[in-house]
């Protein structure tokens, strides 16, 4: 999952960035509204974590421009200003959820998971398919009821594929959603992760569609 963090407070920004990365998210951090908007023109994110009091172009304006562009990326607003009127305005301008600083990290992560889940059209918190189940909240992977340990990247790939079984994701798509600008990506990183993942959960679940990419095959149930 790739997130965009828009936050002008350096201290808050660097902590959130590290904490989210530890959770396995690929995170890009920008400090003002203008940069956020230009980044969003070229890059697709799974969620935007948006502060409202931003330099150059404030958060509400970013939100409005984003929605005017018909960008449907879930937006979680995090701000220290708690006036109800502002909260209402934020939600009405197209924000999907709202947390007031200082927020609890656990709550923030839960809200991120819930928004991501909803944005792919799911309500159930645990992804389960063909005997494989993953729980984004606890990062537990089970195959036929047996817990399996995988690395953060492997887990991230599996989460993306399991979110929508039957949909083929290209290597480039996977790369984009797994790595932020900071991460150096080696050319065959995805293949390596898929290879180890297949070893751990069984080779037949993840199908290689030649020349296109990977998918969880629908017929395998």
């Amino acid at each position: 999952m790739r997130l965009l963090l828009v936050e002008d407070d350096t201290m808050i920004g660097e902590s959130v960035l590290d904490l989210l990365r530890d959770e396995g998210y690929a995170v890009d951090w920008v400090k003002d509204g203008d940069i956020a908007l230009s980044v969003l023109e070229s890059q697709q994110y799974d969620l935007i974590l948006l502060d409202l009091g931003l330099p150059k172009c404030d958060g509400l304006t970013v939100l409005k421009i984003l929605r005017d562009r018909k960008n449907r990326t879930p937006v979680l607003v995090a701000t220290a200003r708690d006036a109800i009127a502002q909260r209402i305005e934020g939600l009405d301008r197209g924000a999907d959820d709202y947390v007031v600083k200082p927020y609890d990290l656990g709550e923030l992560l839960a809200r991120i998971r819930s928004l991501v889940r909803r944005s792919v059209g799911r309500a159930e918190p645990i992804y389960e398919y063909a005997g494989v189940s993953i729980d984004p909240a606890t990062h537990e992977l089970k195959v036929d009821g047996q817990p399996v340990v995988v690395s953060a990247r492997e887990w991230a790939i599996l989460e993306l594929l399991l979110a929508r079984p039957g949909i083929v994701l290209s290597r480039k798509q996977l790369e984009e959603r797994l790595y932020s600008w900071k991460d150096g990506v080696s050319s065959n990183a995805i293949e390596v992760h898929i290879h180890t993942l297949r070893k751990k959960i069984g080779a037949e679940l993840i199908q290689n569609v030649r020349g296109v990419g990977y998918m969880i095959s629908k017929g395998s149930s």
């Binding site: 407070d9 201290m11 902590s15 931003l54 404030d58 990290l105």
Partner: protein, 460 residues
């Protein structure tokens, strides 16, 4: 209830005008009634006289029997005519039942007959006595009827007048009632101004004053709202950072991660500490708002030197060339510690926002009766539109990348106000950044024995 009526302008106007109209109408009716009564009396008298005169030529006494003209059956005749000779021989009598008393003088008299009073007119003509009598009761009721009829138009006029008074009063006061309605039906927290269109000159100033008050209230309300929002932001952000930093420390597994987390937590705590300190300084200065408490003459240039030395190490870290380029020897009346805090905050600000290897100029200038402290830097400056708000507590210019409490300039402002000094925030002419100038009233030392204790105070 009585009080309510007399307090209402409309009710009072209506009551007074109605009373005036009714009283005038009553007097007018009374006069008209009396006049018309008198006039009808005169007309009736004149009529009787004319009737008597017209009977002068005499009657043909032989033509009809002496009493042949009597009409006994009709007793309701108002007038009774009788002609007699001077020796009381009745020649003609219009009513058999009423014989008029014999009078020898021409003129009006009264007499009673048949249970009523008659008015009698006697005309002596030769040896004939022509007499006309009229029932006074009938005559009066006729007169009264006529008189009453003259008052009917007055009654109609009164009704019309009352209606017009009501209409004029109500329509003149309508704008006032509109304002009242506008105010009473608005929402409790609405501070919108009241419409003054169509208001009479007597009420307009009142409503305009009310509008001014509402405007001031709205400004105060907005300022308060801004303050709360800014304070929420500035107080929560450091806490937010602390909370995340603690979380990070809790989650760090390796020694290296822990080191980073501890370092970050330390800077977070420093930031929160600075904020609390600035808040306390501000509160202390605001509590110290009595300008005369323990104010002493202060030699400002030596105080500037102290503040300069406080900040100099920070400037050196950023390789900023900070210089005291003019120091006139001058005194101001004030609180030493407060002014030092003020100068320090201005200098801190300049150092914080100035780029590395830039320049800060510091001047103390005495011009006539004023002492001016000038600080120029080459930082980003403050846009003109923000130069007022920047002194509000917790206000930070949007997009300000430097972390701070948002209280520095409001501390400066509070202390300046305490000393009746004026602050100007401008663009620096010499260095292109911010130019802050604080102007005090100079304190003149008069070297007479009387003021010796002042000098001692300074030497301390």
């Amino acid at each position: 209830m009585k009080r309510k009526v007399t307090n209402s302008l409309r009710a009072r106007l209506l009551l007074l005008l109605f009373s005036a109209v009714v009283i005038t109408a009553c007097i007018q009716s009374f006069i008209a009634y009396r006049t018309s009564l008198d006039e009808t009396n005169e007309i009736f008298d004149y009529q009787m006289q004319q009737m008597a005169l017209s009977l002068r030529p005499g009657l043909n006494f032989d033509g009809y029997g002496s009493n042949g003209f009597r009409q006994d059956e009709d007793e309701s005749f108002e007038f009774v005519v009788q002609i007699s000779t001077s020796d009381r021989k009745i020649l003609f009598q219009s009513s058999s039942s009423t014989t008029l008393p014999h009078r020898e003088v021409t003129g009006f008299t009264l007499f009673d007959a048949r249970g009523t009073t008659y008015k009698l007119y006697t005309l002596l003509h030769g040896n004939q006595l022509i007499q006309i009598a009229q029932d006074r009761a009938a005559r009066r009721s006729l007169a009264r009827n006529l008189a009453i009829r003259t008052t009917i138009p007055i009654t109609v006029m009164v009704a019309l007048l009352l209606f017009m008074v009501w209409w004029v009063v109500t329509s003149s006061l309508a704008p006032v009632y509109r304002v009242q309605r506008q105010i009473s039906t608005r929402e409790a927290d609405s501070l919108d101004e009241v419409d003054t269109i169509g208001l009479p000159n007597e009420v307009r100033p009142l409503v305009e004053e009310l509008n001014l008050l509402l405007r001031r209230m709205r400004q105060a309300f907005d300022a308060q709202k801004n303050f709360v929002a800014d304070a929420a932001h500035e107080l929560r952000s450091p806490l937010s950072a602390l909370k995340l930093q603690v979380e990070q420390l809790r989650r760090s597994n390796t020694e290296k991660d822990r080191e980073v987390a501890v370092h970050r937590l330390g800077t977070g705590i420093d930031r929160a500490t600075r904020l609390v300190e600035q808040l306390l300084v501000l509160a202390r200065q605001q509590a110290n708002a009595d300008p005369n408490s323990l104010a002493k003459p202060i030699e400002i240039n030596s105080l500037c030197l102290v503040a300069f030395n406080d900040v100099y190490p920070l400037a050196q870290q950023k390789h900023i060339d900070m210089g005291l380029i003019q120091t006139d020897e001058c005194f101001v009346m004030g609180h030493e510690e407060a002014i030092r805090i003020m100068l320090r905050n201005i200098l801190d600000n300049s150092v914080k926002y100035s780029p590395e290897y830039s320049k800060i100029d510091f001047k103390v200038i005495q011009k006539g009766r004023s002492v001016c402290i000038h600080i120029d830097d080459s930082g980003p400056g403050i846009p003109e539109s923000d130069s007022e708000r920047v002194m509000d507590r917790f206000y930070r210019i949007p997009g300000n990348p430097v972390s701070g409490s948002g209280l520095g300039l409001s501390i400066v402002k509070t202390i300046a106000d305490l000393h009746s000094a004026t602050i100007k925030i401008l663009k620096s002419d010499t260095l292109g950044g911010l130019a802050v100038s604080v102007t005090f009233q100079a304190y003149r030392l008069i070297t007479t024995p009387l003021n010796r204790h002042d000098k001692q105070g300074i030497n301390k």
